[in-house]
Each structure stands twice: as structure tokens, then as C-alpha cells.
């Protein structure tokens, strides 16, 4: 696979990860779980 596609794949993954983390962060806050370790 060309490097440009690998790089785009990694950046896309990071973007999705960030958005999943936003939802996870809210859920943890609502459940009052420790989120700042």
C-alpha cells in the first residue's frame, strides 16, 4: 500500500478515535468515573 494512503488511513483513524473518545468521555463523566489518570 502506498505511503500516502497509509498516512491518510492513520489520520482518519485518529479523527474517528477522537470522536469516539468524546462520547466515551461524556459517558464516563455521567457515570462519575475517573477520567483523568
Amino acid at each position: 500500500m502506498p505511503d500516502a494512503i497509509k498516512r491518510a488511513a492513520r489520520v482518519s483513524f485518529a479523527f474517528v478515535l477522537m470522536n469516539v473518545s468524546a462520547v466515551a468521555g461524556l459517558l464516563r463523566l455521567l457515570r462519575r468515573r475517573e477520567v483523568w489518570k
Binding site: 491518510a8 485518529a14 477522537m18 469516539v20 468521555g25 464516563r28 463523566l29 477520567v35
Partner: protein, 374 residues
Amino acid sequence: MGSVMEIVFWVALGLVLYVYVGYPVLLAVWARLRPRPHHVDPQSLPGVSIVLAARNEGRRLPGRIDNLLSLDYPADRLEIIVVSNGSTDRTAQALAPYLGASGRRPRVRLIELDEAGKAIALNAGVAAARHDVVVFADARQRFASDAVRQLVRNLADPSVGAVSGELVLDCELGVASSTIGDSVGTYWRYEKFIRKLESRIDSTSGATGAVYAMRRTLWRELPAGTLLDDVLAPMRVVLAGSRVVFDETARAFDVTPPDAATEAQRKARTLAGNYQLAVLEPRLLLPFVNRVWLQFWSHKLGRLLVPYALIAVFVSSAVLAPGRPFYIAATLGQVLFYALALYGGRLEQTESASALAAEQQRSEQTARRRAVNA
């Protein structure tokens, strides 16, 4: 039904595009048309108290204190306050050789607290500070030797209440041993670009916790359990009428999170902290109270809405797709994007596993060599 879905699609897509593209473009135009430069005085050398909150950092602290003691700043105008927040390791013993003032080096002090959280530790550190300017630091990072000088020169302008420095990750310097260096580096450069533009207009929406300075008089005690002390404290400076500027020449250096799981944990904390800010300081949401409310909404809160907007874009385009080429293309485009992200996740997973295997192999070789030598 169709027209409702179309509205959902365009509003949600508009939000995602505004937060990640429209807002930076708006800032760039704004900064060009209405910049607010501030006065900088490189000769300004006020007294500075460096406050470093640490928990079980006994292993890292000696190196970090050495780094702070080697700063290019007059020793008699600098003090270092380490607040140990419920440490159960050998933090106090590790710091013992540094405590007190010795000859021409700055005074180092240690405050030991029971476990109370970082926010309370910072409150204690600032309360103990003797100088007018407080610089915040963490245990893991390292300052460039001129970092404090570069920060405080901005405070020569009375309208500036706080200054954020620039955190440089090793992945930006091409030396990271991380499987997500590419993506974290790209995101971080984008984030710093936005902060720079926000600073040119008025103030950044927060600071970099690892390297920022503030006038001590503008500090307000943080509530216990504050997740984003480095956003809440600077935003309170803005609410008090002062500016928070970004100076990219005041540099601290850090390592990139080693893998996606660590980065996800960090992001979850940061983004949860943005929700918490709205509860702890609701004035930030109000246009007539917070003069940078548009920046705060666009930069901090907009990102919290993006995940739900992405779901709305996907569902609405899929519903609208039958028989409509534009929405078919939009749906396929998103499928392609998420497939690419999955591939990126797979790459990360493979590289993480290889990195772990290599690390294990190194440890085994070291253990074998020690056994042979013994």
C-alpha cells in the same frame, strides 16, 4: 420526511465542516483584518514561581528539577515549588538534595499534600508562590532553556494576563517511538495553528498545561476535581478582562503517547473536561460575558458535537440515497472514509504488536546477557 432528512444532513455536515475547516478559515481572515498585536519586552525579567504538581513522580523529578535549575533566568528571581499530591513513592527523598536555596541556584520547595487531586495541588502551589508571575509545569516534559524568558516577555503588556507556550512533541521532530506519531503530530500542528490565530485576534481558548505563565493576582482557586485546569484558569483570566496569548518561542518538549489506547484515554479526559467546563464556569457560554465566546464555542464545544453530527450525516445520507446520485456518492464517500480509518486502526494495532514484541525481545536479551555475566 425527505426534506427533514435533507435539513438534518446539511445542518450536521455544516457543523462538522465549520468546526474543522470553516472556523480556522474564519480565524485566518479575522486575524488578517483585525489583528491585535501586543507589546513584548525581551528585557522584562519579573520574579517567577514555577509550580509543578506531581504524583508518584519520584523517578522523573530529579531530571526535571535539573532541567528547571538550568534555565536561562536570574536565580534570585526564580523559585521552584513542587506540590506532591498524595505521592506514595520516594518523591520527598528524590527531592531532598535539591530543597532550599544553595548558592546561586534558585530556591526549591516541596509541599506535601494528601491525595487531593491536581487542581487542589495547583491551588496550594500558587498560594505558596512568592513571586508575581506563576509558571506552570509538569514532571514529564522538559523546558527549553529560554522558555521562561520567552513566556514572561509577553507580560510586559498590561493587557496580557496569561501566556501559553508551545509544547513540541517528539513525533514533530521525527524521533518518536510511537505507533500513532503521524496522526498525533498532524492533529497537534493543526491545534497549535488555531491557537496562534486565536491569540492574534484576542486570546486562545486555554493554555498548554505543560508550559504557561500567569499573573498570580489573576489566579482563582480551582474547584476540586477540575479536569482541565489549563483551560479553566486561563479562561477565567479572559473573563477577568485580560488576554491569554500564545508564544510559540516558549517551548517545552514531550514524548508522543506510545499507542492509540493511551491517546484515546487522554482524549477522553480532555473532551470530558470540556463538558465539565460548561458546568464549572457557565459564564463561558454567554456572549455578553465571555468576549471570546465564539472561539470557545467553535473550538471547545463544537468538537463535542461533531461525533453526533457525524452519525447524523451518515444516517441521513443513507436514508436519502435511494435514487439520488448525490446522496449515494455522499454515503459511499463516508463508507470509504470509515474503511480507511479501520485500515488505519489495523496498521496501528500491527505496529503496536511489533513494537511490543521488539521490546520483549530486547528485555529478554538484556536478561540473558546479565545472567551470562553473573
